[in-house]
């Protein structure tokens, strides 16, 4: 198995030198294999978003090394980072982050237009991914015309339409009701199992995390323990996770 994501000893310090500084990440390391569905859990303020921003090249680590798909991100210029984002990374955010002034179809097409894919090919790819996510019927509506769950599936389609090396999701179910959340997680699982989409999801919700194969716990800016699903089914994994969290609290 190849490692699609490698994180080595990254630190992140907020605040300029001489001013009040805060170290959010303190030498954090882990790796994700191709085709894995990994969840990262941690309390509020533990550095989850900070980590994801660094992985998605929106921010740079203060020190340490990040490699995605064999590419070392530390030496990329800002311009190259943007290109890298548009090619190798798919994003899902808690609050959907769809552009309200574009139709769902146009939203999904956007990452492809940024990469200069031809129009006919874009149409084909958008239709394909929409079929997979069961949103073909609402493609020509605007985001305000569809439900939260549908919005997040549009967002997922947009994140995956250009076949990125890795899908990064920051609390993707945070703004969804439990029914829509379950639907989305099922689809993410399906995409992971059937199409082998490597997924890294950040969450503090145990139910969402239980859909992953592996859960990493982030604490005080470092990766602490790790929980692996192995042969367990989702429910059993969920109980194991709850148990684990229970012992953590004590």
């Amino acid at each position: 198995m190849t490692k699609i994501l490698k994180v080595e000893q990254i630190t992140k310090t907020y605040g300029k030198k001489g001013q009040k500084q805060y170290q959010a990440l303190k030498g954090l390391s882990f790796a994700v294999e191709e085709g894995e569905f990994t969840a990262i859990m941690g309390a509020s303020g533990s550095g989850k978003t900070t980590l994801l921003n660094i992985l998605s090249t929106l921010d740079r680590p203060t020190s340490g090394k990040v490699e995605i798909g064999g590419k070392d991100l530390s030496h990329l210029k800002n311009k190259e980072m943007a290109d890298f984002r548009s090619q190798s990374i798919g994003f899902i955010f808690q609050d959907f982050n769809l552009l309200e002034n574009l139709t769902n179809r146009q939203n999904i097409a956007l990452p492809l237009t940024l990469r200069g894919v031809s129009a006919s090919r874009i149409d084909k790819l958008v239709d394909e991914i929409a079929a997979k996510l069961e949103i073909s019927a609402i493609l020509d509506k605007y985001p305000v015309e569809v439900s939260g769950g549908q919005k997040q599936r549009i967002a997922a389609a947009r994140a995956l339409v250009h076949s990125p090396a890795i899908l990064l999701a920051d609390e993707p179910t945070g703004a969804l009701d439990s029914h829509s959340a379950r639907e989305l997680l099922n689809i993410m699982t399906l995409l992971n199992e059937r199409d082998g989409v490597t997924t890294l999801m950040v969450t503090h919700d145990p139910f969402s995390a239980s859909f992953a194969n592996r859960i990493l716990f982030i604490k005080d800016g470092k990766i602490g323990e790790e929980l692996v699903k192995g042969e367990l089914d989702r429910k059993a994994f969920y109980h194991k996770l709850i148990e684990h969290l229970g012992t953590e609290e004590e």
Partner: protein, 602 residues
């Protein structure tokens, strides 16, 4: 406590605040300058005897328009201020400040800012009016003696207007603030778009806009003075309504149609730029309509003002003689001889001891007097010899000219046959009739020559109707119109462009999340900047373009007044384009800084 918070907030956004403040200063300065002319009664009386009836009307119209534009300007400028500060206000609320307290703070901030800016603006306005009246008026050969820089009434009006509107804007901001949830104050959110329902109806709306506009244009081109009121109403409201429909429906429908052409739009950020534009156009319908119509009026004002200059040459033909010299001296004769375009005719007369002046019929038969005939149809003048019997009886136009040599000691004037003339005992004297065919070049010199003869009542009376005076009066009038046109036009343009600017900038907080999203999706910050330049460029160009077309047709209404109403139109177009471009560049610079703030950029 709140005051200190307020001040630190302003400090943090100092640059944005500076833009707002200088905008307000410029607005109040223009307002004051306009007021200093229109609220100055001496101005009309002293300068424009002939156009006196027209000028107050033009100024009144201008006043109303300027007030409207300034009003919108202040509202938008203040909503920009609110959008800039809403995060701070949200912070105050979370810190436990009462909404009532904050409302007072908002009104105070708006008022203090407005008042301070207005005072500075008036100060600058006084200075600039002084400079302008010196420079510009001299350039235009104008002698606006009553154009004072410091007009107390104008200061009063300007202050009053700006305080009242600032207060209104403050209250408007307060009610907007009170209606906004705290969470929305603190977090930047995409502004929810208003979806376009019934696309078919929309397209119909857009097309009817085009039709109405075409009808208005047709009316303008076939404008007749007889049906003027009806036609003017059609032209004005047709343009207004047509433009509104155009901006509300036509352009967004057009963009929607373009967006469906995937081959064209699926490239880089084109999709986003168009989507942004489509909804922005709907949001901006009102301001774009006002901008385009007033843009047209402003351009029209400048062009028409300029057009009077083209009439100058034609208008000087309304007189045959340029100057009457009733009391020539050798010096005067020498000076006249130096003027190439001046033809001088010398006449003789005798004054006897009883105070009677005698003219020689034979001389007037040999050197005929001329009179002017006007042909209203072709709007031309022709010159005819005065009928001799009329001259002999000293009737008609000859009365005036021959009267020039008379004075209070003269009892009577007679025109007699040559034999009789020869018998008259008395001093022989001469008078000169000067006709100059290039008054534009010579009128200043002729004026000086006129001053070399004694300015008796009769001399003044006759020369006030001759070519030199007429010419002077006409260029005076033209100058006034030109001055008005340029002043009004440029003032409007400045106001309109900056109103549009502030409207755009006040949307920046709502647009920010979108650009952030695109950035996360991997759009280069260079492409984002380019997208902004395109979007705002089209947003600026559309009303400019519609306004320009409005003018081109609108000038058709002046066909009966001028030979070519479009004369020299390129000049105002170029000036406007340059100024407008500057505003556009300033807007994208500021907007880019606001929406792309704190991204990594190379």
């Amino acid at each position: 406590m709140l005051l200190r918070l307020s001040l630190t907030g302003l400090q943090r956004r100092f640059k944005d605040y500076a833009v707002l403040f200088s905008g307000l200063v410029i607005a109040s300065m223009i307002f004051y300058m306009f007021m200093s002319i229109s609220a100055n009664p001496g101005f009309y009386k002293a300068n424009v005897s002939m156009g006196a009836r027209l000028l107050p009307f033009i100024f009144g119209f201008g006043n109303v328009l300027l007030a409207i534009v300034t009003f919108f300007y202040l509202i938008y400028a203040n909503s920009f201020m609110l959008s800039m500060r809403q995060h701070d206000y949200g912070m105050f609320l979370t810190l436990g400040a009462k909404r009532g307290k904050i409302s007072i703070l908002v009104v105070m901030e708006t008022l203090v800012t407005g008042l301070a800016a207005t005072l500075v603006g008036i100060g600058l306005g006084i200075g600039l009016t002084g400079v302008v009246s010196q420079l510009l008026l001299k350039q235009l050969h104008l002698d606006l003696t009553h154009l004072n820089a410091l007009v107390p009434a104008a200061i009063g009006y300007t202050l009053l207007f700006f305080i009242v509107v600032s207060l209104l804007a403050g209250l408007w901001n307060v009610q907007k603030l009170l209606r906004t949830k705290l969470i929305d104050l603190l977090h930047e959110k995409q502004k929810p778009v208003k979806l376009i329902k019934h696309p078919v109806l929309r397209s119909l709306e857009g097309i009817s806009g085009l039709v109405i506009l075409a009808w208005a244009y047709y009316t303008m081109m076939h404008f007749k003075v007889e049906g003027a009121k009806v036609e003017f109403t059609i032209a004005f409201f047709g343009t207004l309504i047509g433009s509104w429909l155009l901006f509300n429906a036509f352009f967004s429908t057009l963009i929607g149609w373009i967006m469906n052409k995937h081959g064209f739009t699926y490239k880089g950020l084109r999709l986003f730029t168009l989507g942004q534009l489509k909804f922005r156009l709907n949001d901006f319908t009102q301001i774009l309509t006002i901008t385009s119509v007033l843009f047209g009026l402003a351009l029209g004002a400048v062009t028409v003002g300029q057009n009077f200059r083209s009439e100058q040459q034609a208008a000087t033909k309304s007189t045959y003689y340029s100057l009457v010299i009733a009391h020539p001296t050798d010096k005067i004769k020498q000076k006249l001889a130096k003027l190439d375009h001046a033809k001088v005719t010398t006449y003789h007369y005798k004054l006897d001891a009883k105070g009677t002046i005698y003219f020689n019929r034979k001389e007037f038969a040999q050197k005929r007097l001329y009179t002017v005939e006007f042909h209203p149809k072709s709007r031309t003048y022709s010159y005819l010899k005065m009928p001799l019997d009329q001259v002999y009886r000293m009737e008609g136009d000859s009365t005036l000219i021959l009267g020039a040599v008379s004075n209070s000691q003269v009892r009577q004037q007679k025109m007699v046959k040559e034999a009789a003339y020869k018998r008259v005992k008395g001093q022989t004297a001469t008078f000169l009739l000067v006709r100059d065919t290039d008054l534009a070049k010579d009128y200043q010199k002729l004026k000086q020559i006129d001053q070399m003869q004694p300015q008796t009542e009769n001399v003044q009376a006759v020369n006030s109707l001759m070519g030199v005076s007429t010419y002077e009066m006409i260029i005076d009038l033209i100058g006034s119109f030109e001055f008005m046109g340029f002043f009004l036009g440029l003032a409007f343009l400045a106001m309109l462009a900056s109103t549009l600017m502030f409207k755009v900038l006040s949307q920046a907080t709502n647009d920010r999340p979108r650009y952030q999203m695109l950035f996360k999706l991997g759009a280069q910050s260079r492409s984002l900047k380019r997208s902004i330049a395109w979007e705002l460029g089209i947003l600026f160009v559309l009303p400019g373009l519609v306004g320009a077309v409005d003018v081109l047709f609108g000038l058709g209404m002046f066909k009966s007044m001028f030979q070519n109403p479009w004369y020299g139109i390129w000049l105002p177009f170029v000036i406007f384009a340059v100024l407008y471009l500057l505003y556009y560049l300033l807007t994208i610079k500021l907007y880019q800084k606001l929406v792309l703030r704190d991204y990594q950029t190379d």
